[in-house]
């Protein structure tokens, strides 16, 4: 299963899903997912509903996406994280940087 990235015109959002393990092996794929799909003054949504696992390099990739979003006056939302993933995000205090829903 690979990363998908779909533009939702209605919400002016790019929705990125990362199925399975979100770790360093997804680095290039994740970057490609948003590289050519710029969102102006909108939302980059990382949808984790099918994500089983996050490691610290995944957190790093989210920071990279945030940098892109910041430069496009957009925000990054992290959605549908299960309890385990939420705990990882909590440990990293990512609620201070991202909207987590």
């Amino acid at each position: 299963m690979s990363i998908t990235a779909n533009i939702n015109d209605e919400k002016n959002a790019l929705v990125i899903t990362v199925p399975g393990r979100f770790d360093f092996s997804k680095h290039n794929e994740f970057r490609k997912a948003y590289k050519d799909k710029q969102i102006e003054s909108g939302v980059y949504e990382i949808d984790l509903h099918s994500t089983e696992y996050l490691d610290s390099s995944a957190l790093g990739m989210m920071l990279l996406l945030k940098e892109v979003a910041d430069s496009n006056s957009s925000v990054v939302k992290i959605t549908h994280a299960n309890d385990e993933l939420r705990e990882i995000l909590r440990i990293a205090s990512f609620e201070k940087l991202f909207v987590i829903e």
Partner: protein
């Protein structure tokens, strides 16, 4: 410019050999001949042969055997094309099974033979290329492996040399690769003679993570030794990392400080898994991460959220990087928090706790791919501790006479921790062998008394129990933010006496003072949590004298021969 291809014709029939030779020479190949399999084996070992054309039935050694030997003994790829009159399919298959790469039955078409030689040559060239690349890769790998081994040792030396010995109460386990993956433990003795410990973990693995940890060592040791508070140390470290690291990299860390004067533990957890404080086999406090990891955004010191707990002797603090949580077994399961807590709860006694947690995790990952990223520490709050390699710098003594004065208004007191700078000043002017940290302790105690009880009018009886201590700390933060006036004046003067000297510390605060007639209590009778400061100063100093309404204190510290004469 290409060298002609070298072919070896192996046939016991001289006519066959001559026909082939003539044909191949006409095509521009260089041709060698062998009369049987054995001669072929000998030729191949002496000469550079590119392709072999091999008959099957020959005296001494037949084509099958010769092909087998050549394929097993020659390290590079030599294509062998069997040329045979055999038509039996099983025997033709045997040609390929014994190491032949192709078969052509006699009588064969010359056109087809040429085509097969060309085709085999292409495969041969490809093989050669792969072999070369493999060799290079192997050489490269070996060299890298050697470099990594050396680098690992260097890193271990730079980063983790300061564990302060077996009697310090600090125990740790780091798997060899974890050092190189950017896991780090630093520790140093603080002003209260307790330990300050930084345990941290960089995102990502390998060289970039490892390199980034080096400046952290400089910041940690330089700042803790100069007596900076650990929020300031963390701020400095964070802001350095923000500048240094690419966006996707950061450092998860916990800063742990044990105050042995007040028996208080302070923890700033920035992105590490929970730390556990364990008393009598039970977890009595969990220090959860409340801060962003370091190196993501610039911060000021008050950004950091700190947790505190009172300590009893025998308490143990466990901290780990996420390696232990993410240790995987053969089924791809993670070790996880619940199993760690189980290990803690089922440890037979406090001394076996550390190994129990570690061994349980090792047993869990037993059959899985080596999980090489585990870093675990235990800090044992012992009554008696002893440190190895305490850092008192031995400098040539140059006693001299000097004095310096600092005057701080309330705004400066609020914003600025002056002590490290005063200590830098003292150290710059005066080398006091083995007395550096003592002077620092005296100064810190006197200064905090003047600030807490003088300028901020805090009630020290609050510190009677552990809960009160935390309340005291909270009140201090509040009052420091709200207080409108006040000041502290510090005068330090040094006088040379013999080969030593006397340092006088004179501190005046703007507060209401206190009844200092009661301060003659001895250390022995003082068992409460508060009031440790004054008796401690008294034991460290030659003389401590309160004056005025209790808002003026003069302490003298003697060193060198002067200290001895003053003692007698």
């Amino acid at each position: 410019m290409n060298e002609p291809l070298t072919l070896l014709v192996v046939d016991d029939d001289i006519t066959n050999r001559m026909v082939l030779r003539a044909l191949l020479k006409a095509d521009g190949y260089q041709v060698f001949e062998a009369e049987n399999g054995q001669q072929a084996v000998d030729t191949v070992s002496k000469k550079q042969i590119d392709i072999i054309l091999m008959d099957v039935m020959m005296p001494v050694l037949d084509g099958y055997q010769a092909a087998q030997i050549i394929k097993s003994e020659i390290e590079y790829f030599i294509p062998i094309i069997f040329l045979t009159a055999i038509t039996d399919e099983a025997l033709l298959a045997k040609c390929l099974a014994s190491g032949g790469d192709d078969v052509l039955t006699k009588p064969y078409s010359h056109v087809l033979l040429r085509a097969k030689i060309d085709s085999m040559n292409r495969i041969r060239i490809l093989n050669r290329k792969i072999e070369q690349q493999n060799n290079e890769l192997n050489k490269h790998n070996t060299r890298i492996q050697q470099e990594i081994n050396v680098a690992k040792k260097v890193f271990a030396n730079i980063l983790n040399h300061d564990m302060r010995g077996s009697k310090s109460g600090l125990r740790y386990s780091m798997s060899p690769m974890s050092v190189f993956n950017g896991d780090v433990i630093f520790s140093d003795v603080n002003q209260s003679n307790g330990l300050d410990v930084l345990i941290s973990d960089f995102t990502g693995h390998g060289l970039s993570a490892a390199i980034s940890s080096i400046p952290m060592a400089d910041i940690f040791y330089a700042m803790t030794r100069k007596g900076f508070s650990f929020k300031e140390t963390l701020t400095e470290a964070n802001n350095k990392l923000v500048k240094m690291l690419p966006t996707q990299m950061f450092m998860s860390a916990a800063f742990i400080s044990v105050d042995r004067l007040n028996n208080v533990l302070s923890v700033v957890n920035a992105g590490l898994p929970d730390l556990y404080l364990i008393r009598d086999g039970e977890i009595i406090k969990t220090f959860k991460s409340k801060n962003l990891p370091l190196g993501i955004i610039s911060v000021t010191a008050d950004t950091f959220e700190m947790d505190m707990a009172s300590l009893h002797y025998g308490d143990r603090l466990l901290a780990a990087t996420d390696g232990i949580m993410e240790a995987e077994n053969a089924d791809g399961e993670f070790y996880g928090v619940a199993r760690i807590i189980d290990s803690i709860n089922s440890a037979e006694n406090a001394d076996s706790l550390f190994n129990k947690v570690l061994n349980d995790c090792m047993a869990f990952t037993h059959n899985a791919q080596q999980s090489d990223d585990i870093t675990l520490i235990e800090l044992h709050h012992k009554k008696d501790i002893d440190y190895e390699n305490k850092n008192d710098v031995a400098v040539v003594n140059t006693p001299s006479n000097w004095s310096m004065q600092f005057s701080l208004d309330v705004d400066s007191l609020r914003k600025f921790d002056i002590l490290p700078y005063i200590m830098q000043g003292v150290n710059g002017l005066q080398s006091i062998p083995n007395g550096r940290s003592t002077v620092q302790t005296i100064l810190a105690e006197i200064f905090s008394n003047s600030l807490d009880h003088g300028v901020l009018s805090l009630d020290s009886s609050l510190k009677n129990d552990a809960g009160g201590y935390l309340q005291f700390y909270q009140q201090k933060t509040e009052r420091l933010n709200s207080v409108e006036e006040g000041n502290i004046q510090i005068t330090l003067s040094h006088e040379q006496r013999g080969d030593g000297g006397v340092l006088t510390i004179h501190v005046v605060d703007s507060g209401d003072g206190f009844d200092y007639t009661a301060m003659n209590e001895s250390l022995e009778s003082n068992t409460g949590l508060h009031g440790r400061g004054l008796p401690l100063i008294k034991t460290l100093c030659q003389d401590v004298c309160y004056m005025g309404k209790g808002n003026v204190v003069v302490a003298t510290y003697a060193w060198g021969s002067e200290a001895i004469s003053a003692d007698s």
